[in-house]
């Protein structure tokens, strides 16, 4: 008995000691003075860590910019970061750490596993910013505490004219649209853009929503594309898989002359083995790409060079969602009362209209328009920037302006 007692006492003492350490030094939240505490959840490790690399630095850079200009209401913003290790359970644990232990008043959840924490964060009344990942809750009741970086998504996911009209304008006559079967958003996006193309007068020759996340085996889709013979490919999959699909299709003999990818825009393509394959490919971007060279992009790039280590020879891409989430949080803190708290943050930000993230969004966002604003696969106001790979550089299409559209009538 004594051995058993000692066993458990040792184990419990270790547990108690470790966890008691965690309970010390916290409490009181941000308070009326001192720094305002905000949190960031992202996948610093785990299966999607590579995709989210840089988000952390960009988030902090935006907060550094704000702190350099006096913070919010004269108070500095302090950032706490938690790694969800690429799992829904990890996302919940990270949220609990930030809320219960660090006492943050707002959270940015930049992870594909955000579904793990949304109920907890809703229950705690914590406002959440993020890049509209992994589910419809960014515009669906009761998650009114969720603020997408480019507004909220209509949970009905209507078909917009945006991409269909663009593809028609660049000469597409028939389309092959491919999405993941095990990602509802990717699947819906592939179907929606096929419908958008059809509405614009482009023949839909092939629609596949049976690809699997994590697999690069696109042999059946490649053979299907060869057989159906579209001249244009739309992919709602991740950048890596989209490139693998295009590679497989061309190797199989499919005559694809133009392609449009909803993600994948990245400086890593330049100089990579994929660069040749992607010549002339279009990429959708939810924010003003650095190549647009506007005052907003120049200011953002300068701040990222100063605070996040962005090199002068490179440019920002997906990692900018960290910056955008921090911008939403800063705007929420500004909209809250003098002593920001979660409730005043949410009520204040829900009244904000005409938000553009300092000019980075393709259209103004009305946070009061919960459940409206845009649809799956498109940015603010149903718009997107389009960049095209030409030679060793990206260039912004449509004269540097975003392409926009509205719901397909009928």
């Amino acid at each position: 008995m004594r051995g058993a007692m000692l066993t458990t006492t040792v184990a419990a003492a270790v547990l108690l000691g470790v966890t008691a350490c965690g309970s010390s030094g916290s409490g009181g939240g941000s308070g009326a003075s001192g720094p305002i505490k905000v949190g960031l959840i992202t996948s610093l490790s785990g299966p999607l860590a590579a995709q989210f690399a840089g988000v952390n630095n960009d988030f902090k850079a935006r907060i550094d910019v704000q702190n350099a200009s006096g913070g919010v209401g004269g108070r500095r913003i302090e950032v706490f970061v938690a790694d969800d290790a690429g799992s829904v359970q990890g996302n919940l644990t990270a949220a609990q750490k930030l809320v219960d232990d660090d006492h943050v008043i707002a959270v940015a959840d930049e992870s594909a596993f955000v579904a793990g924490a949304i109920r907890f964060l809703k229950q705690q009344g914590i406002p959440v910013a993020g890049g509209q990942y992994s589910g419809p809750f960014w515009g669906q009741q009761p998650y009114t505490n969720m603020f997408g970086d480019w507004g909220s998504i209509n949970p009905g996911s209507p078909v917009y004219t945006t991409i269909g009209r663009y593809l028609k304008s660049v000469g597409a006559s028939s389309l092959g649209s491919v999405g993941f079967g095990d990602s509802p958003s990717s699947k819906l996006d592939a179907s929606n853009q096929a419908a958008s193309a059809k509405a614009a007068g482009v023949k839909v020759a092939y629609l596949s929503t049976s690809a699997q996340i994590g697999s690069n085996d696109f042999s059946s889709q490649a053979l299907g594309l060869k057989q159906a013979g579209p001249d244009t490919l739309y992919s709602s999959m991740g950048g890596s898989q989209s490139i693998a699909l295009l590679t497989a299709a061309r190797q199989a003999g499919a005559k694809i002359t133009h392609s449009f990818f909803i993600s994948g825009y990245s400086p890593s393509i330049i100089g990579s083995s994929a660069q040749q394959m992607l010549q002339g490919a279009d990429f959708g971007v939810y924010y003003a790409p650095q190549q647009a060279d506007t005052p907003a992009t120049r200011a953002t790039a300068a701040a990222l060079q100063k605070y996040a280590g962005l090199s002068k020879s490179s440019f920002y891409s997906f990692d900018l969602v960290g910056w955008l989430s921090a911008s939403v949080i800063v705007r929420g803190l500004q909209a809250a009362d003098a002593n920001p708290a979660p409730a005043s943050f949410i009520s204040g930000l829900r009244k904000v209209r005409g938000y553009t993230a300092g000019g980075l969004l393709p259209a103004p966002v009305n946070f009061s328009d919960f459940g409206g604003g845009t649809t799956e696969g498109l940015g603010a106001g149903g718009c997107l920037y389009v960049v095209r790979l030409a030679g060793g550089a990206f260039q912004v299409e449509n004269g540097g302006k975003p392409i926009c559209g509205g719901p397909v009538s009928g």
């Binding site: 058993a4 610093l44 490790s45 860590a49 790694d83 109920r119 629609l207 497989a248 394959m277």
Partner: protein
């Protein structure tokens, strides 16, 4: 059609290479290596690191990874691990190799970072990959290399085995190790060489399959499971058949993709089901001729576990009457029960003194403890290595969410019903597997778990566009502390149930079936029925655990119940102690709290370390079958004796009584 068949043959060739490696080590060393897929992932990551990130040439990178690192690692692992496994029980072999499979991915992440791959990871063909047209079908150089590699391995392997002295020696060792040893052959050397060759094949498969699977570790689990299917159907010992079956699976998978409508999810659902369908047909048609040494394996496992109890019993006899009372057989169980009660009492105090973050983790750990308790019954008691417990837990999670949210039932009733929903799944899986033998149970439950991942857990009905389905807690367990208490109470009740089952006639029958199938049959026990029941009850417990996890998270999110996650669950359970409810509870807490500690106190680059530690600790089962719990118990027991001696006699010199208390040996309480 020809193009699809060709694509299928390419996939099938990689499955075949993997299956060949698996069969070779099983035949020569009796170990079916569950870390094979994970090592293939490691090799693919290493090749990408060298070739793509550091711009080494294809030939140099491939030679280094496939011909140098892989066989050397195989030799190293043979020397430190596999050599000692040859005469271990099936449970220890499986647990150790699963521990390795859990450890390889985090090691790869630590060593090679987290590369963002654009497009297809390169294979052995130069970029851009050349495309040839044969009979009107496009074939890439990567595909041609895969087919050529399989042909080369088959031809060279066949020639070496049939026409060379080395091949004769290998065949002699496979036929009869003892007879071969009598002729002066060293079976150990042969075994080492086979392990090196097996890892060479794993490295080759990893490099070849990376362009198809990408660099995600989950895809490699599927590769391994598909190869396992071929190995099972080849009855674990026929390499030629394994190759043929692997090629057939590849072609069948490709044809499913051809015939399923591309705009439906049919292909996505059916492709992962193909290996299970092959296994199912095999079970229906050919399983009677399975040649796994079932009785022998089970008897050895039973004997090993019984040996532990017997040692404790001898200690009890050697101790005084007072100690004898509680150390009487099963002594370890008695100690663990006492420890369990004390642990629950200590944990009951924690919510009062901790902040809500740590209280939440205690609740999570207790819920996990319930799920892991299912291993205590099915594996710890029954000796069945089920890799489907995570799927049963997922079923429980989905059921609780459906019952509480869709049907509006009270949470407690939903929890009980969730167990009942999982019961038939457990019984059917048990019925299909238990009579085939320990290894087949592990292999087929792994395939079943993958099937559940793709057919059920990814379905839109449960996935709900990523939102999952809400799950309600009981009204009295809405807060973090109250939920932790609730989960602890459920755990205590189920642990009590397990303890009473262990002492019942049914429990004795389970142990008897584990000890010796022939022995149990001679006393009139239906070992199949007993073990099927154990599997069914374990499914109920796992489902209740899964239901608690859904309540903890306020939702059923089934991507948390993947097959890969289930391997980590087993690794944690084995590492801490799979034979006692206390082990399950502490394993659950470790699963929750250890990553929490790393998240809280260490940089993000340390995040892969807990998983690595769980894997390494599971490998430790080779040294200590009762897990870390026994080590801690042994240490605590020694400290207690030393403290008692000091209190009784005071500090003494070198010859004093306190000095005569022996320090704990590496074997912990099992000395």
């Amino acid at each position: 059609m020809t193009a699809y068949v060709l694509a299928g043959l390419v996939s099938g060739s990689i499955y075949a290479l993997t299956a060949l490696g698996l069969v070779s080590t099983y035949l020569s060393a009796g170990v079916l290596n569950f870390s094979y897929g994970a090592y293939a992932f490691f090799a693919a990551s290493c090749y990408y690191f060298l070739h793509s990130q550091h711009h080494w040439g294809i030939a140099v990178s491939a030679v280094l990874v496939v011909l140098v690192i892989s066989p050397l690692l195989g030799l190293g692992l043979w020397a430190v691990l596999f050599r000692g496994l040859a005469r271990s029980t099936t449970l220890i072999k499986v647990a150790a190799t699963i521990g390795l499979s859990v450890a390889f991915p985090p090691v790869a992440q630590i060593l090679f970072g987290k590369p963002q791959v654009y497009g297809t990871p390169p294979g052995l063909a130069p970029q851009p990959v050349a495309v040839y047209h044969v009979l009107g079908v496009a074939i890439t150089m990567d595909q041609a290399i895969v087919l050529a590699c399989l042909a080369a391995v088959l031809v060279i392997g066949g020639v070496v085995l049939r026409f060379t002295g080395a091949g004769l020696v290998v065949r002699a060792v496979v036929d009869s190790e003892k007879m071969a040893a009598l002729t002066g052959v060293s079976p150990q050397r042969v075994s080492a060489a086979v392990w090196a060759f097996s890892y060479l094949l794993a490295g080759l498969a990893g490099v070849l399959v990376a362009p198809i699977l990408g660099l995600g570790s989950d895809g490699f689990t599927f590769l391994m499971a598909t190869a396992f299917t071929a190995v099972v159907i080849a009855r674990l010992r026929h390499p030629g058949r394994a190759v043929v079956v692997a090629l057939l699976i590849g072609v069948a998978t490709s044809l499913v993709q051809k015939w399923a409508p591309p705009s439906s999810t049919l292909a996505q659902d059916l492709v992962p089901a193909v290996p299970f369908l092959f296994v199912f047909v095999f079970i229906l048609l050919g399983s009677r001729r399975v040649t796994e040494e079932r009785g022998d394996h089970e008897a050895r496992l039973g004997a090993a576990l019984a040996g532990e109890d017997e040692r404790h019993h001898r200690r009890a006899q050697a101790a005084g009457p007072a100690r004898r009372r509680y150390l009487a057989a099963p002594a370890a169980a008695g100690r663990a029960h006492a420890g369990l009660i004390v642990t629950i009492v200590v944990l009951a105090v924690l919510p009062a003194v901790l902040n809500s973050y740590w209280v939440g983790l205690v609740g999570f750990g207790a819920a996990m403890g319930v799920a892991l308790l299912s291993f205590t019954l099915v594996t710890g008691e029954g000796g069945l290595i089920s890799l489907a417990q995570v799927s049963f837990a997922g079923i429980g999670s989905a059921a609780v969410a459906q019952f509480t949210t869709v049907n509006g039932l009270p949470a407690l009733l939903a929890l009980a019903l969730a167990g009942l929903v999982a019961l038939p799944f457990g019984l059917v899986v048990g019925l299909l597997t238990v009579r085939l033998g320990d290894l087949h149970v592990a292999l087929i439950t792994l395939t079943f778990a993958l099937l559940m991942d793709s057919l059920a857990f990814d379905s839109s009905y449960f996935f709900q566009n990523g939102l999952g389905v809400n799950a309600s807690r009981p009204s009295f367990a809405g807060g973090g502390a109250s939920f932790a208490y609730f989960a602890l109470v459920i755990f205590a009740l189920l642990a009590l149930f397990l303890v009473s089952v262990r002492r019942s006639t049914t429990g004795l029958a389970v142990v008897a079936a584990r000890w010796s199938v022939p022995g149990a049959r001679t006393i009139g026990l239906s070992t199949t029925a007993v073990r099927v029941q154990a599997m069914g009850v374990s499914a109920v417990i796992a489902a209740i655990g899964g239901g608690l996890l859904a309540m903890y998270q306020y939702a059923s999110l089934l991507n948390g119940f993947s097959t890969g996650q289930g391997l980590v669950w087993l690794a944690v359970a084995v590492a801490v102690g799979i034979r006692s409810p206390l082990g399950a509870l502490l394993a659950g807490l470790a699963f929750a709290v250890v990553p929490g500690i790393f998240t809280q106190y260490l940089p993000a680059s340390w995040t892969p370390v807990p998983t690595l530690l769980f894997g390494l600790a599971a490998i430790g089962m080779v040294r200590q079958p009762d897990g870390l719990l026994a080590d801690i118990g042994g240490l605590a027991h020694w400290l207690g004796r030393r403290a008692a001696a000091l209190l009784a006699h005071g500090p003494a010199g070198p010859g004093g009584p306190a000095a005569r208390v022996s320090p704990p040996r590496p074997q912990g309480v099992t000395r």
